[in-house]
Symmetry: C2
Subunit: 203 residues, 2 copies
Amino acid sequence: MSLRYALLALLTAEPLTGYDAVKRFGGSVGYVWHAPDSQIYPELRRMEGEGLIEGEQVRWGPNSTKTRYSITGEGVRALREWLEAPIPYAPLRDVSRMRAAYFEWAGPESARENLRRHIDYYTEQVGRWKDMRQAILSAEHPSIAARLEKYPAEEHERIIAYKAFAYEGLIARGEAEIEWGRRGLDLIDELEGPSQARGEPGS
Amino acid sequence: MSLRYALLALLTAEPLTGYDAVKRFGGSVGYVWHAPDSQIYPELRRMEGEGLIEGEQVRWGPNSTKTRYSITGEGVRALREWLEAPIPYAPLRDVSRMRAAYFEWAGPESARENLRRHIDYYTEQVGRWKDMRQAILSAEHPSIAARLEKYPAEEHERIIAYKAFAYEGLIARGEAEIEWGRRGLDLIDELEGPSQARGEPGS
DNA sequence: AGGAACTATCTATCGACATAGATAATTCGT
DNA sequence: ACGAATTATCTATGTCGATAGATAGTTCCT
């Protein structure tokens, strides 16, 4: 259900075609909410049916058109309502933790490999999130720029601040994951002796 | 797909009926992996069909039986394989961050309410996780006790350590969430002025 | 003029999971 | 002996999302 609100939120910045939205989900928004095009196009059609957005046909080349969607008053209302309602926290389903809990069933080397991947994955993500945060703070990012143009200057600070704050949450979480991974590697060394992966001469 | 491996992992401690498994998912394992009974029973049947577990009928009262499942060699192999294979990290879908990114569309008071709930939720969870961690470290927890009985003493340390480590990951993440929520409340104060919720006399 | 890359959209199938039940035997307290 | 709570299991429906396509027009480069 949240895809719908992610789309509404995007459309508060500027009208978009389905394809534009797909691109956004491949980049910026995609770091917070992922969705494939096969979900986006039908959802947009449904939302139009419910009056949350309006599609207009715009020319595309000599023989074709594309549909550009804009958010309606109804859509803004729905977005607000969703943002103001308390969300139920979904029950936990945490693959990394589940796997770690049973590391005694994997070999130590494969447990290490797991944690190294964990660290690498989050290191990469944290890098991306930090870049995004910077791009937001400097208003470089095209979709932030478009958004700022649409709203009065006195709103700019909070528009930027909340988006940066969201990314800061991801960054903090990512850094906690990296820390956890490191402590896991140490723990394995303690329990099983240090890694023999890179040959220790004379062992 | 992970439900299957959660079940296999559970069954490495002791044989269980479907109902036992359901209970486990309501408690201990449930803090790491949630699943309703409507998923558990059919999955157990499927797993039996694939030879990963074996069901045996045991008497239950004078006129009835229940099915107790044990893990098979095949099942252990499947669990090991899963633990050793690299898991693909699922693309992110983070409701809290998404909502935070658009807090300018909710009123400041409702943004605060959001964050307070966030903090409360994770505070409660962290409490649970800490309790679980303690119960594991002291081997008080019945399902840990059963597990330790089944394996030689020299394995006990690592069995316990990995499970505690898993919970430590949850705790760290939870604490990062609480921190983030607090910083969010401060941010809102900065941006919108301090809360007027609890009446400031003379305002 | 031709092909490659991009824009734009749509469809179909499948598994995971949520939600909301229903059924029936058993045990336990009074 | 009776009702309540617990144990044990099963079903059905719907949504979300993953995966893997298909189609067709457009722009751009050579």
